[in-house]
């Protein structure tokens, strides 16, 4: 064990002294981060979290395939393993040292990604770092097994590159790392259930976007750990010190059993669990314009939301969408939470909080929350919308509109204080729904924290029509 630690520490030192290795270990993952969060997420905090999971998965996969796997083959081809072979250490020490070096190099990379995602893209830290660490550990373990298995069966660098490319690109495009799984045809989603990268990326997205715990991801974690164990056992048994040594066809075939945990997992997923969990995470992230059936609608005639059913928090949050001034180079942040107690003795309320941080050179930033609801035709129609508020003494603006179309109603401003008060927004349009929309009309309520820089907090409850 001590020999493995010493070799691993030396390997890390050698990486730190090699510019190309430094680039691919630390800077290359940052390029993915900037592409994914900059181009795909575009300031949506949920999308930041969703795509951050993909970036972390890419980083772990990359180090497993191209770092660890290729390095082992290169050392063997170069003949530098022979010198180790003369010392009283065995293949197990070499395999373990590779795993350790890979893991210890990966942790600062992931930390750098978290810091950059928060610093440059204002990604909210809605997940436990410990949970992230456990998942990174399981993922590194699984893909180290993958990389080392490939390095064990590949006789040359060229052969390893061929194997890596085939598997790498397969995982890249079919597992949800590049294209979100719910955007792919269902038959690909069914196939993706057999891929290890799928479990890693969807697990990251689940803990970050859906705030699931590790207990919710037991099956995924088990598959990653079993697969990693298989991989490392193969790497140990098939380890070769000399480039002249060739692996038998039988051993190559045997190593395919590495994928057994994922065959079992994929079959189980397809047969029992279904693919809905991926869809759910994606919808939480993307929050596309809601279909008619998904819209909030008055429950008791007038009540739209009272936030009392905390079990439906995630579904509730789908209807509330935060947007910021990120697209205008601002750094403002906004988040939603369900808090206790609510107004008028109720148990829960919705908290909209964050920080207004304008872009350099600007005095005003922008954080808004938009609530989408469906209003069925009725007679008489409501005259407006009201809700209870309390919060910081800051100016907030509210307006109600139909998607893509300003209603023309005046914007109302209010300043909450620490006690609950009711705010009413008259909206004549609510009483005159579109006659052509028999199923109802979609409306959006927008609440904006005023542009002055600083923290803000606003609690909302008892949202109803009047």
């Amino acid at each position: 064990m001590m020999a493995s630690i010493r070799i691993a520490l030396m390997s890390i030192r050698l990486v730190m002294r090699t510019k190309a290795a430094l680039f691919f270990t630390f800077l290359f993952p940052l390029l993915f981060l900037f592409v994914y969060l900059g181009f795909f997420a575009r300031g949506n905090p949920d999308a930041d979290l969703y795509y951050f999971g993909a970036v972390v998965t890419l980083t772990i996969m990359g180090s497993g395939f191209w770092g660890l796997g290729m390095q082992s083959v290169m050392q063997r081809e170069r003949g530098s393993l022979r010198r180790y072979r003369l010392a009283p250490i065995g293949p197990g020490s070499m395999v373990l040292s590779s795993l350790l070096a890979n893991y210890l190099l990966g942790l600062p990379t992931i930390a750098l990604l978290v810091v950059c995602a928060m610093g440059f893209f204002h990604m909210p830290l809605r997940f436990s770092l410990l949970t992230l660490l456990v998942l990174v550990t399981a993922g590194t373990f699984a893909f180290a097994g993958f990389g080392l298995t490939i390095s064990s069966i590949a006789n040359t660098m060229q052969e390893a590159q061929v194997y890596n490319n085939v598997i790498w690109f397969g995982l890249l495009f079919l597992s949800g790392v590049t294209v979100p799984l719910p955007m792919l045809p269902q038959w690909i989603q069914r196939f993706a259930a057999f891929l290890p990268a799928t479990y890693l990326v969807t697990s990251f997205q689940a803990i970050m976007v859906k705030r699931e715990s590790l207990f919710d991801l037991g099956a995924e974690l088990l598959a990653l750990l079993v697969s990693g164990t298989f991989g490392l056992l193969f790497a140990w048994k098939l380890f070769r010190w000399e480039k002249e040594e060739r692996i038998s066809r039988r051993a190559k075939l045997l190593s395919v059993t590495f994928i057994i945990p994922f065959l079992v997992m994929g079959t189980w997923m397809n047969a029992h669990r279904g693919l809905g969990a991926w869809e759910e995470t994606f919808s939480l992230m993307s929050r596309p314009p809601l279909a008619a059936g998904q819209h909030a609608a008055p429950a008791d005639g007038n009540l739209l939301e009272d936030f009392e059913n905390s079990q439906e928090t995630e579904i509730l949050l789908q209807r509330w969408q935060v947007s910021t001034d990120a697209s205008a180079a601002g750094h403002s942040l906004g988040e939603l939470d369900v808090v206790s107690p609510g107004s008028a003795g109720s148990e829960h309320a919705l908290r909209f909080h964050g920080r207004v941080a304008p872009a350099a050179g600007s005095d005003h930033g922008y954080v808004a929350v938009r609530y989408t609801f469906l209003l069925a035709p009725r007679d008489p129609g409501p005259r407006g919308i009201q809700f209870d508020v309390r919060g910081d003494r800051r100016l907030f603006q509210i307006r109600i509109e139909r998607p893509g179309e300003a209603l023309g109603a005046p914007t109302l401003t209010f300043v909450p204080d620490s006690g609950w008060q009711t705010v009413r927004l008259p909206a004549a349009g609510l009483a005159n729904p579109d006659a052509s929309s028999r199923g109802g009309t979609t409306w959006v309520l927008e609440i904006v924290a005023d542009g002055a820089p600083g923290d803000f907090q606003l609690d909302l409850d008892e949202l109803r029509l009047y």
Binding site: R6, R13, R17, S80, R82, R83, L86, P88, E242
Partner: protein, 310 residues
Amino acid sequence: MSNHNNGAVVRVEGLSKRYGDIEALRGITFQILPGEVFGLLGPNGAGKTTTIEILEGLRQPDSGSVTVCGMAPAQEPAALKERIGAQLQATVLPDKIRVEEALELFASFYQHSASIEMLLERFGLAEKRRSFFEKLSGGQKQRLALALALVNDPELVLLDEPTVGLDAQLRRDIYALIEQFRAEGRTTLLTTHYIEEAERLCDRVAILDRGRVITLGTPRDLVESSGHGTRLEVRLAKPVLPSRLMQLDAVMDCREAEGRYFLHAQPPAPAVAALVRFLEAEGNALLDLHIAQPTLEDVFVEMTGRRIGD
């Protein structure tokens, strides 16, 4: 240093090894005694490296038995590696590892290790301790490889072609280091295809050819027992049949190569006189004459009909 197997540190019996169609070793047998510098001498492809790698535990023999420090390399590899030090024909380390780091890293693998400072001083690497492996010259790399072979203060040192590719000065430096091993009482096995190296350094030499030990003994015994006598190398103005030169007084054999005639004579003086008389009678002339004592090269030529470098 402890003795094993009736005094032998290394005992090899009937060792055979085949690579596909090629028989690398064909039943070789030898023993190495404690404190001895033992040489395996032979041309490329004779089986020297295969033999030493079997002793190191890097390769498995097809048949035969091997005991090193009282252990079978295949049975107790870790225990054996604690007691031997080895230098490979080509030692490759990571480019960016420093000299001192390499010694410290490899020393850390052993239960007992030598002083790194002492090794740096002894192998002339103290000034290069912070240098990367990639920045070392060929001689410095070779000295580092030798230092690595000694990091565990071994009782048996196995050196595979330790001076190959080095210039004369560096070779002499390595010779001095190997002579130090002898002075310290370490048992040393070295492979070489340099006659000078084997004659100068080795207490005993096994000459290998095509996977067989063709003769074994001290360099002096081998030369004396070869029966070749003194070697005369001559260049003549006109060609002459070697068979006619063989008829001269005291000449034991003669062969011609590239316009030169190589004669062995015992004793040499009458042979030289007879050669001069013969050339005068034939109207021929002596352009060049070298007289030398026989060497291990002559022994090899006598036994194989080829030169070691062929």
